[in-house]
Amino acid sequence: MKRIRRAFISAAAIALCVLGGPALAGENFIIVQSTTSTQNSGLLDDLLPRFTAMTGIEVRVVAVGTGQAIKNARNGDGDILLVHARAAEEKFVADGFGVQRFDLMYNDFVVVGPAADPAQVGGTADAVAALRRIAAANAIFASRGDDSGTHKKELSLWQAAGVDVSAASGTWYRETGSGMGATLNTGIGMGAYVMTDRATWIAFGNKGDFRILVEGDEALFNQYGVIMVNPARLRSPKIAWSRAFMDWILGSEGQAAIAAYKVDGQQLFFPNARRGS
Amino acid sequence: MRDAAMPLDAPPAARGDRRVLPITAHGLMLERAGRRIIDNVSLTVDGHGISVIMGPNGAGKSVLLRLLTGLLSPDAGMVRWAGRRADRARAPSVGLVFQKPVLLRRSALANVRYALRAGSRAERTRRAGEALARAGLAHLAKSPARILSGGEQQRLALARALAPEPEVLLLDEPCANLDPAAAAAIETLIRDARARGTKIVLVTHDVAQAKRLGDDITFIHDGRIVERAPAGGFFDNPASNAGRAYLEGRLLID
């Protein structure tokens, strides 16, 4: 039985080495809880290596819906929160989880739909009117339904339109309960209207015959905010690194990098940080 | 563990005191599914030579062997090894070979070495090699045990049972599935073991084999011992009707 014991011991040793591996390398990092739109559009992949090259601090991004990102940050599982749902962000700060909220950048939401446009909303500049028309036509609309920033925005527009979507859920109003990209895939599959942020749409690779039908309404403005998690909740080295990240992304270099990021020649995000705002 | 008659956590016997003979059984009783398989059997295994247990199929011979080794526990009665309950520490002193050998999924050598629990690995390897050589299997030491022929497998099982130098060796119809040449090889090994002083209990229903090997005969029928006699006496003049009927090849009907 000695042979078995030896086999078990060496197996355990190997397993420990492999398991222990990640703890030994790459200790200088912070975690950013962010949204799928910033990751799926490719912005963060472009932005963050610049910061790392300059400071040696690695930035690890967990991209989930705004609602989940905020919950994760509340659990202390992140150093920076980068999302787009102003009211929820301000509540996060007011509850003592974050230091202060800063405007970071904006883009806008658009409503995309099939070329056939069954509800005839194409060319409308009034988002609320367009939604009312979709509801009146019982045209299929795919919603994120996941408590994300985009979802919150969409619900506020339905409210303004006086449409009770919860009553229509499962009929023409379909909640996918998933991220922006997954919802676009689903919506395109069933020929549904979808509200998406412009950045995700431009970078999206599976557009089919879908195109932008509604855009340019002020009500579709999409503001991103960035918050550093309360230092009292962070491990000590992370505090300085997080501060460095905040300074960089809100400063001239970070803002310029955001403005410079383009997909297919189109700028996706517009920096608008005003420190101390 | 079902039927765990051998207490696995029994305190080990004092060092050096590995004696199991005499093995005594008193008033053994075993029932399965309402049938009495062993019915008030008492016997003693001791001394030298080959004791043969004979009887027709279903007489309870194999079950009796399992009771003597402690693999089964009786519903009533008791088995003692040298006056004490069977225990795991003395198991190496009791060898048992089944009708169909159970070989480990290892080489022939490793199978024998496995039975040797004491000593360094090198020491056990050496002793296992010697046991294989005695069984005429030295050239197959490295072969996987389970691809050997039926006769070789049974010789290997015998070599494995003999390697720890047991005081008593119990054999449960060891030649039942073998051709005559293979059976003869097994019988040779049994005689060798007897010559080295190992007490042997051989269960068989083969009258010719019993005649060739047996020093004394215990005849069992229907779970009961019906006759015990020196080999010569039994074969020349069986005292019981059942024994006589069996030797004459007649069907036994109660």
Partner: protein, 235 residues
């Protein structure tokens, strides 16, 4: 669907070019899942063997539970591990969340019941054959467990393969506890999910083909080993 043709094209281009980003993801997938299977074997095989040789009151209930756990939803496991490893959870100070270690833990929890349940069946069958022989040789319960594990080693590879298949293919648990962080916790399945959500369906499918290929290679290697063992009647 022109996606299929494009998917094969993408798969071969990625593999043929030894795309470093892809290699990193493949290696991490292997490292995480192989380690998880190793840990699961260390725990699950002895557990299955002990269940295979033991008879005790409530054993049937334990087996029902074990077989049920084979179907644990990965998302649920991911959530449980997240709650344990979160900074707000009891194991937060270990700082394992969003590391490969967290993914290994989650996958181990998914794989242990599979390895244990399949090992239990294999060992129980072999125990029926070996029990009397080992007892007559004076082997105790732990020695019996060790002997059965060793002699069943080639059959048990199948149990480990089943566990590996589950580990390397699941996405729900590693996404939650790993976070799909580029260069840190991005594995094949989370990369596929990400490319799907970006609408890069051909690339996602291409990655899926690479994953399939990887699974085929590993399965073939293990089955080859088993076949070798079967020739010596060891399996």
């Amino acid at each position: 669907m022109q996606n299929f043709g494009a998917a094969f094209g993408d798969a071969f281009r990625l593999l043929g070019g030894f795309d470093p980003a892809l290699m990193e993801i493949i290696l991490l997938s292997l490292r995480v899942s192989v380690t998880a299977v190793f840990i699961s074997a260390l725990i699950g095989l002895p557990l299955g063997a002990i269940l295979g040789v033991s008879r005790f009151r409530g054993r049937a209930a334990v087996l029902v539970l074990l077989n049920t756990l084979m179907g644990l939803p990965p998302v649920v496991v991911g959530l449980l591990v997240y709650l344990m490893l979160s900074n707000a959870g009891p194991l937060g100070p270990l700082a394992l969340l969003y590391t490969p270690g967290a993914m290994i833990i989650a996958q181990s929890i998914l794989v242990i019941p599979i390895v244990a349940a399949l090992a239990r069946q294999t060992i129980e069958d072999m125990h029926a054959e070996y029990d009397e022989q080992l007892r007559i040789l004076g082997v105790g319960r732990w020695g019996m467990v060790a002997t059965l594990l060793w002699d069943a080693r080639y059959s048990l590879l199948t149990a480990m393969l089943a566990g590996f298949g589950r580990a390397v293919a699941e996405v729900g648990a590693v996404l939650i506890v790993g976070g799909n962080i580029n260069h840190v916790t991005r594995v094949m399945t989370t990369a596929i999910a990400l490319e799907t959500s970006k609408g890069n369906l051909a690339l996602a499918l291409g990655l899926g083909l690479v994953l399939l290929l990887l699974a085929i290679v590993i399965n073939a290697a293990v089955m080859g080993l088993r076949a070798t063992a079967a020739r010596s009647a060891h399996a």
